[in-house]
Each structure stands twice: as structure tokens, then as C-alpha cells.
């Protein structure tokens, strides 16, 4: 709790570090901020082509929105995932790459990984705004759900921050964490129903039945993944336009708070040794 205080007290520093990320990145580029849209759009085109046209993956139409557009269905899950992946993969070396600063100046170190959450969040907000406009154009009734969407974005940012703090600390002591992480993130993405619907997993799970003679099914294991729940809730709000499933929502809230608490706890314990370990 006292850690939250530290973060609040250094909000101006956090703001300038965020500006450093945001401005420094697209300085002297022709399209500037628009570049942050390029990556998700390229992925959308590729995945839509491969999964909707070649593999003929067909998610259920939005209920009650009635939407049936694979590319938009994809983006409702892909944009939150990309935000999470960017925060975590950027956060992992936020301490190591700022070693010079950490060894020369005292300031709350936690702002370094957190500044990537805010900087990526800023880009994500921009991407989500474009998605919402696209959804409205094809006739989804998104507006009433926007406050809840924003709340979920905040919750995912909390979850991502927690995970990012953990991997950032790990990377100080084990420098190959970042290489391991890039593999883990790839696996994680494919194990999360982002480019395929969960119903495919459900069908498979029903065919297989209980694993190893237990009543636990494949679907149960899939649903232990917090990112699966986050993606599900984002789709319920944006694509289906309905109240999120209460179980999913609870799972998101609990995992976000747990991740952040654990992240802060580990960070606070290790923080004093960073300057030496780097």
C-alpha cells in the first residue's frame, strides 16, 4: 500500500518518462503516431487472410449485436493482447537498459517499468478508438458499453503492470529472462483464443472428455489463463454488446490485483539492490 503512495507521489516523473517514450519513439518519422496503428493492421490483414479465408475459422456472430466480421472480431481480442505483450516485453528490460540512470540518480525505480504501461496505454487508447469507430460503422451499438470498456482497459493495464514488474526484476538477476519471455509470449498468444474462437477448444475438449481419468477438461485448463478471460470480456462488450459474464469479470479483477500486489511486493524487496546487480 505504501508503494501505491510512492507511485502517486512520482506521477509527474511518470508523465515525463511517458512523454520520453511516446515522443522519442516517433520523432523524425514521417507518419509519426500513425505508425502505432501499422502493426495491428498488418497483423489483422494477415490473420484474416489465413484464418478466415484459408482455414475458414468462423466465430459465432455477435449476440445480440448480430455482427459477423472476422477482422473486427479478431481486433477485439488482438488489440488488448498486443498491448499486454508490448508492456511486458518492453518492461522486461526497462531496468537493465536504464542501468546508467539507476546507478547515478536516486528516484523511485518503479516508474521505469510503469512508464511503459502508460506509454503503451496511450497508443492502445488510440487503437481502440479507431476500432470503436469501425465497429460503429458496421452497426454495432458500442457507445453505452464504452465506460465499461475503459474500466477493463484499466484493469488489463494493472495486470500487465504487475507481470511487467516481475519480469523486469527477474531480468536484473537473470539476463536471459528476456529471451525466454519472447518465446513464452508467443506460446501464450497461441494458447489464448485470439485468432480462433473458444468454441473450437470446447468442441475438442468435449471429444476428449476428462483428462487422465479426472473430471478436469481441456477447456478448464484453457480458462485458467487470465488473458483468455480478458479477451472474452472485451469481446462481450465490444463485439457482442452485452453485459460481461460475471465469472470472467471476477477472474479478471482478481488476477489483476494479485499480479500487481505480487509485482509490487517483489519489486520493493529487490529494489535496494538494483544499482549493484546491474
Amino acid at each position: 500500500m505504501s508503494y501505491l503512495r510512492t507511485v502517486l507521489d512520482s506521477r509527474e516523473l511518470l508523465m515525463y518518462l511517458t512523454l520520453r517514450e511516446v515522443k522519442g519513439k516517433y520523432k523524425r518519422t514521417l507518419l509519426g503516431q500513425l505508425w502505432s496503428l501499422a502493426n495491428p493492421l498488418a497483423m489483422m490483414v494477415v490473420y484474416t487472410f489465413i484464418f478466415a479465408f484459408i482455414f475458414r475459422v468462423q466465430p459465432d456472430p455477435g449476440d445480440p449485436s448480430g455482427l459477423n466480421v472476422f477482422a473486427l472480431w479478431l481486433l477485439c481480442g488482438l488489440l488488448p493482447w498486443l498491448f499486454f505483450a508490448k508492456v511486458v516485453s518492453g518492461g522486461v528490460d526497462s531496468l537493465v537498459s536504464n542501468a546508467g540512470l539507476i546507478q547515478k540518480v536516486y528516484f523511485p525505480r518503479v516508474v521505469l517499468p510503469l512508464s511503459l504501461v502508460t506509454a503503451s496505454g496511450y497508443n492502445w487508447l488510440f487503437e481502440m478508438a479507431v476500432l470503436v469507430i469501425a465497429l460503429m460503422i458496421v452497426g454495432a451499438w458500442v457507445l453505452p458499453w464504452l465506460p465499461l470498456v475503459l474500466l477493463m482497459m484499466l484493469l488489463l493495464a494493472v495486470f500487465a503492470a504487475g507481470v511487467s514488474l516481475l519480469v523486469a526484476v527477474a531480468n536484473v538477476y537473470f539476463r536471459d529472462t528476456e529471451h525466454l519471455l519472447s518465446i513464452v509470449l508467443q506460446l501464450w498468444m497461441y494458447l489464448t483464443p485470439i485468432i480462433y474462437p473458444l468454441s473450437l477448444v470446447r468442441n475438442l475438449s468435449n471429444d476428449v472428455g476428462g483428462l487422465l481419468g479426472t473430471p478436469i477438461t481441456l477447456l478448464d485448463i484453457f480458462r485458467l489463463n487470465p488473458m483468455e478471460r480478458f479477451v472474452a470480456v472485451f469481446r462481450q462488450l465490444l463485439y457482442d454488446n452485452r453485459w460481461p459474464d460475471l465469472g470472467d469479470l471476477t477472474f479478471c479483477i482478481v488476477s489483476a490485483l494479485l499480479a500487481l500486489a505480487l509485482g509490487f511486493w517483489v519489486f520493493a524487496r529487490k529494489e535496494k539492490g538494483f544499482a549493484e546487480a546491474l
Binding site: 509527474e12 515525463y16 520520453r20 515522443k23 539507476i102 536516486y106 536471459d176 529472462t177 525466454l180 549493484e276
Partner: protein, 246 residues
């Protein structure tokens, strides 16, 4: 009244024979590393009087920078404690945290907030910072186009504008041209006249004699003497001579 009270401070580092900083080696060999402890500071205690200009002297590797980093809260003493009366700021390297693509103006705000100033405070001191640095003509240029001297000037001006009660300075004075160095020295004198405390490290005994009123001599992590500047320097030079002869 003491500005800083250093009580029985010791600091040990782990010296690794074989540093295993990867998960792979940690898992395969089932142990992190082979190391031994090295005491960079051992039971150092002294007080820094308020309003004094205090020098730390000693040969290379004697632990001066380590002590300053403990003072600056960058390292945590292995044992012992440090008490401050007043706001402390450290200048161990100027311009750390500058972002090369950002302009001088943007970097003033970034660096100022890293050093713990609020936006309001920086707004208020902005003109004074630019003035002191003498780079106003280039203030909207990205700092990567600055000469190394200009870089240091800007960094120093930001750091000095924090106006702490206690300023901790490592050997950053040896940069900049003669004119700027004189400006810096004058700034330290002003600090003293305003009743602020400065703790600095220098290898130049003339500069120390000129600027400081108190000094402490560190040797291999142990405190040898502490007291007024002339007697400490004398002991240091004498001790070094004896050392060299032995």
C-alpha cells in the same frame, strides 16, 4: 547542528569469480555463483556540520564514490545508518537520463523531474537554468546535437537548480571550459554563503583547500582522519608519503 550523521556505515560487495547471470547456468549448475565479500567501506562514522563544505579525499579505490552513493541512496549500506537534516540531492554524473532525440527544453523537464523537482518548481526555475547553462540558442535542438561541454553545462545547471540543503558531488567539476568551471565554483561558494552543505570528492588538493572547510580521509574503506581541511590534507599527504616509502 549536523547536516549528515554517518553512523558505523559498512558496505560490502560480492566479488564474483564466475558470474552466472543467466537462468540457464543457474538451472544447470544448481547454484548462482561463486563469490567472496569485499568490504569497500568498513565502520565509517563521522558527522558533517551544517553549512560546511566537506571534502572526501583518498587514493583511487579507497571507497569515496561508494560512500557518496550510500549518501545518495543509490547503494544501501550493508550495516550502519545515515541520517539527514534537510533535503539531499546528489550530482554523481550530470545529464544522466537525457534523451538524445528530445530537445534541451524537454530534457530540462524530464531531468528535473528525475531529480525530484515538481513541474511548478521547474517552471519557476526554467529561465535561471537556461541562463546558467548558456545554451539558450540551442534549447529547442535535440541534445544529441550538443557538444559534450554543452551537454554537461545543461546537466549541471539542472542539477544545481534543485537547491538542496545538502548537495553531494562526485568529481564532476573537471568538465566544461575554464569560464564554466569558475561559474561552478562560484555557485558552490554561494551555496555555502546561503548556509547549505556541500559534500564533494576531489583529487585536487588545491581545489579542496580553496573551497572546503572540513575534510575526511578514507583509505581502503577505513576512515583515517576527519577534521578541519588543512590538518586532514597534511595527514593524507604525509600518510601517502610514508606509504610510498614503505
Amino acid at each position: 547542528m549536523n547536516a549528515v550523521e554517518i553512523d558505523q556505515v559498512s558496505k560490502s560487495f560480492r566479488l564474483y569469480h564466475e558470474r552466472n547471470q543467466t537462468l540457464k547456468s543457474a538451472i544447470m549448475r544448481r547454484r548462482r555463483s561463486v563469490h567472496e565479500d569485499f568490504w569497500a567501506l568498513k565502520d565509517v562514522s563521522f558527522d558533517v556540520p551544517e553549512g560546511s563544505t566537506f571534502a572526501l579525499i583518498g587514493s583511487n579505490g579507497s571507497g569515496k564514490s561508494t560512500l557518496l552513493k550510500c549518501l545518495a541512496k543509490i547503494y544501501w549500506p550493508t550495516s550502519g545508518s545515515i541520517r539527514y537534516n534537510g533535503r539531499m540531492a546528489a550530482m554523481l554524473e550530470v545529464g544522466s537520463g537525457f534523451h538524445h532525440e528530445l530537445s534541451g527544453r524537454e530534457n530540462i523537464y524530464l531531468n528535473g523531474s528525475i531529480l525530484g523537482m515538481s513541474k511548478k518548481e521547474i517552471d519557476r526555475k526554467y529561465d535561471q537554468i537556461v541562463d546558467f547553462s548558456g545554451v539558450e540558442q540551442f534549447i529547442d535542438q535535440p541534445v544529441k546535437n550538443y557538444s559534450s561541454g554543452m551537454y554537461v553545462r545543461l546537466g549541471f545547471s539542472i542539477a544545481i537548480s534543485v537547491e538542496p540543503d545538502i548537495l553531494v558531488v562526485d568529481e564532476v567539476l573537471a568538465v566544461g571550459d575554464a569560464e564554466f568551471q569558475e561559474k561552478c565554483l562560484q555557485k558552490f561558494r554561494d551555496f555555502r554563503d546561503e548556509g547549505r552543505t556541500v559534500i564533494l570528492v576531489s583529487h585536487s588538493m588545491e581545489a579542496v583547500r580553496d573551497m572546503c572547510d572540513h575534510a575526511a580521509w578514507l583509505n581502503k574503506g577505513h576512515l583515517m582522519t576527519v577534521g578541519d581541511v588543512d590538518s586532514t590534507i597534511e595527514a593524507y599527504l604525509g600518510g601517502k608519503g610514508a606509504h610510498g616509502a614503505a
